[in-house]
Symmetry: C2
Subunit: 284 residues, 2 copies
């Protein structure tokens, strides 16, 4: 198959199982949101796919060929660094030209354009960057490298509202200029809901969901009304959470509704991705 | 006066002026939001107040006494570390008891309670924490130290939605148990709008605003209607931004409205803190 195939991946830290026999695919030319609670293993998963950490078991292939120790396959994958790997005294402009030397097809024009849009001072040294500009430098590089599968680990960490917009717009623009796969982990879910075509949710060391954003939102409902009637209508459904205010209750549903008649006092509406995620991942 | 008084503070990095002769006060028992674009100098300002970085000019006093090199005054101020100052191999539980040794009145009960609410594994080593849990450990310490002025530099960096709620609720709870001053820098403004009593906005190396959230929101308006009528009504006002959709225009106003009659086709509504901030800080 085309794309990245993750098969029976297991990762343990001592006695803790971080990834428990997970299998899923990452397809070409899609923009994925990789969602999960703090500590769910998102960074670990991305590091294993990019061959920076080792799994205890399982395989990762790209277009059917093992990625591990395979330079040709690895050159098609790019993962933003979690930690700061560049020397503190390195100037940003030297960093960019160094990366452009490594990746022959690095999009230097886009890099210059984004630096200007983010008002990045390329004469700054890496060690003097603020939290936000540290993220900005990493994001610029990720959007300009010629890889086919680009993993962005919390790209908007510390970015102000305006710069988050610059990033989201740049992502959409470069994707439409040259479609390729982006996998974005983030905790500001409502802001990427309109950008991502697909959602991967990790919970309890497993992949809970891997589906299109459209399908997921179509299957997410809030059923609101008098508590007794809401409970009666939703009793056979997949209730993922609920909220009450006095005698009024909302049950959140993920999956199909049933064919029972909907009581007049009960209203059904769709919920957004952030609310769905919180309810899906908050259950013990 | 009571509180922290910042007077004529100047900070330069080589030829760049980061803080340009700024003066303002931080009062006792308030919760401040410290807002500013990426690179505005928020972290630098907090580091100077906490005597971790030096200013080129100006003074910072607490209750009238200079903070610089004054251990007694410094013990009343706590700033979360921007970088990771703890050894990678340090276990979280050892970190907590080490801090409890330093600060005799460290709130150990609250520390244990928060660790459990955040589902923090205290046997983890500092170097193995994910981005989110790194922030969580720093936030727990900041909420439990017995200081009177607590500076939280981007406390929710990398926290998931549920853990952000845990943090906000813990902050409100500990503040109401023992009122003291918190100064919080963040870029997820809409989430703290209901928590902060006061807002400090830094722009172009100056303090643009230092006022109560209530006053600020009372002076923030969106004037919407046909472009010509909106422009005519707002021509004498402090327009901080505008948006257009076809012939309909919104002008954002910060300050007083005038006494002109409001045209029937024009509606005036209040705007939220995030929108106000983006418009205030986006102007060149």
């Amino acid at each position: 198959m085309e794309g990245i195939e993750i098969k029976n991946l297991v990762k343990k830290f001592r006695k803790d199982i971080v990834l428990d026999d997970i299998s899923f695919n990452i397809e070409p030319e899609k923009i994925y949101g990789l969602l999960g609670r703090n500590g769910a293993g998102k960074s670990t998963l991305m590091n294993i796919i990019a061959d920076r950490k080792f799994s205890n078991h399982g395989s990762v292939t790209l277009d059917g060929i093992t990625i591990h120790d395979n330079d040709e396959q690895l050159s098609r994958i790019y993962l933003t660094s979690e930690v700061d790997v560049y020397p503190d005294r390195f100037k940003i402009k030297d960093l960019f030209s160094w990366i452009a030397d490594i990746y022959k097809e690095f999009d230097y024009d886009l890099c210059k354009k984004l630096s200007s849009e983010f008002k990045l001072n390329e004469d700054s040294k890496f060690g003097n960057l603020s939290t936000g500009y540290n993220s900005i430098v990493k994001a610029i590089v990720a959007l300009c490298v010629p890889a086919d599968y680009i993993f962005l680990d919390e790209p908007i960490l510390g970015l102000d509202a305006k710069n988050r917009d610059v990033f989201y717009n740049a992502l959409i623009q470069t994707y439409s200029d040259r479609p390729r796969t982006f996998v974005i982990s983030t905790h500001i879910i409502e802001e990427i809901a309109n950008i991502i075509s697909d959602v991967i949710v990790i919970k309890d060391s497993k992949v809970l969901i891997n589906d299109s954003t459209e399908n997921i939102l179509k299957s997410s409902y809030e059923v609101t009304g008098p508590a007794a009637e809401v409970d009666r209508y939703t009793e056979d459904l997949n209730i993922i959470g609920s909220e009450s205010l006095g005698k009024i209750k909302s049950n959140y549903i993920f999956g199909d509704l049933n064919d029972k008649p909907i009581p007049d006092t009960v209203t059904i509406s769709n919920i957004d991705l952030q609310k769905l995620f919180v309810n899906l991942t908050d259950r013990e």
